[in-house]
């Protein structure tokens, strides 16, 4: 920054948090258009809606192939640094100082973490002068409120080097505005949940085809996903997770017939392929006599549990109406045995077994 102060003519540098959604795209664009040198930062927490899921499910593959954060960077003509924060982020999910939103989304702590990381990190190779986010006051009930805005600025350590171009006019002038690095008159005063101003601004920039994720930028806002994560903690008796755990929660039907084990049943070929990558870690089942799902068994099943598991797997196979389906049970050791079972009747499958509703 001293360098910038000496060479006052150099453009100021800003790090923009880029989620892949419209708001952060607009925020970066507004500042970019004022001649600021903007680089994007995107954090990969492991819970991001981006990426993974479209690669797993076949039906989603054709629909969405791109990484939206990269797409945004390309549209804006800025660099984008994608940062793996899977490990560090765990503490945010497990121990959020400010608590959770509607589900297990620790949005306020998450924002503080990301702004701090963008500010202090080694992600960008050179220093920069301020951080940009696409936050809008009143947009999200938990994290984007008038009273949370200063909390994020303060606790992230960014202070008044945190600029929210889309709602800046509702907030006191920040350092970039006071110093004239950006012209406050060209910033906006958006507030509330109405998306029309953002859409109009997008249109004025000629942006179309941008991503509009429903709910939020991550799976933690998803009620069913959060239900599965809470179930995982409860069944293990410890609030913890590793990367494989949170990936597996995105895939398949999760069925828990008893507290000590649950089944993850692939719903289609893409999911079956994905689940088969975990064969070394779990007991798994596949149907032999009929086409059917790949089913992982997470926990400590007894032999009787495996019979029920096989009947459930058979229920989701092409042999669901057959009198008998043969199912192979494989152990991580390589041991295998074949069971012949009657597919579970729909009435025998307790609704409460479905984890996450």
């Amino acid at each position: 920054m001293e360098m910038h102060d000496k060479k006052a003519n150099l453009p100021r540098r800003a790090a923009a948090l880029i989620s892949g959604g419209l708001d952060s795209m607009l925020a970066a664009k507004v500042v970019l258009d004022q001649g600021v040198d903007v680089e994007g930062v995107n954090f990969f927490t492991g819970f991001c809606v981006e990426g993974h899921t479209h690669a797993i499910r076949k039906k989603d593959r054709s629909r969405q192939k791109r990484n939206n954060a990269l797409w945004v960077a390309e549209q804006l003509g800025i660099k984008l640094h994608i940062v793996d924060v899977i490990d560090e982020y765990k503490d945010i999910v497990l121990n959020p100082k400010h608590g959770y939103g509607a589900n297990l989304n620790p949005c306020l702590d998450c924002k503080i973490f990301m702004v701090n990381k963008a500010l202090t990190q080694d992600v960008l190779d050179r220093g920069f002068d301020f951080v940009i986010t696409g936050e809008v006051i009143g947009q999200r009930p938990k994290s984007q409120r008038a009273d949370t805005m200063p909390v994020i600025a303060r606790e992230s350590g960014a202070g008044d080097r945190l600029l929210r171009p889309l709602c800046a006019l509702n907030l006191p002038p920040t350092l970039p505005e006071r110093e004239g690095w950006v012209d406050r008159d060209k910033l906006f005063g958006f507030h509330g949940r109405d998306r029309k101003p953002q859409m109009a601004l997008a249109e004025s920039f000629g942006f179309s085809d941008y991503a509009q994720p429903a709910g939020g930028c991550c799976f933690l806002t998803d009620e069913r996903y959060a239900g599965k994560l809470a179930d995982l903690w409860q069944s293990r008796g410890v609030r913890d997770y590793d990367f494989d755990d949170i990936m597996l929660l995105k895939v398949g039907r999760h069925i828990r017939p008893a507290p000590h084990y649950k089944l993850i049943v692939g719903r289609e070929e893409g999911e079956n392929n994905f689940l088969s990558g975990y064969r070394w870690r779990f007991v798994y089942l596949d149907t032999v006599s009929h086409t059917g799902p790949l089913t992982l068994v997470d926990g400590e099943p007894t032999d009787a549990d495996l019979v029920l598991a096989a009947r459930i797997a058979a229920r989701y196979s092409q042999g669901r109406s057959a009198s008998e389906v043969s199912v192979n049970v494989h152990h991580p050791s390589g041991a295998r045995r074949e069971l012949r079972v009657a597919p579970l009747l729909p009435t025998e499958l307790e609704p409460a077994w479905h984890v996450g509703g």
Binding site: F44, N67, A69, L70, W71
Partner: protein, 83 residues
């Protein structure tokens, strides 16, 4: 490497990102490239079909040159020249 002045085009470094789902192959590519010098060539192999879009897009936004991309039955292979 001979003493000739021809810039080397063969990859000097290889990154195995097989089995990783997007955006992890891109993240690993980015982290690896940070350790390389301009003009060096990195080979990346990956299996997630998302890389077909993500790696070229990431190269474009950073100005790295994608010298080659290849689809094989065991995955995808890219040669990237560091900007």
């Amino acid at each position: 490497m001979s003493g000739a002045r021809n810039p080397p085009r063969a990859p000097g470094t290889r990154l195995d990102a097989r089995g990783l789902l997007c955006p992890l192959p891109v993240i690993r590519t980015q982290d690896k490239i940070r350790t390389l010098k301009s003009g060096e060539v990195l080979e990346v192999v990956a299996t997630d079909p998302g890389v077909l879009h993500d790696i070229p897009a990431w190269c474009r936004v950073h100005g790295h040159r994608l010298l080659m991309s290849e689809q094989r039955n065991d995955g995808f292979r890219f040669h990237i020249e560091v900007a």
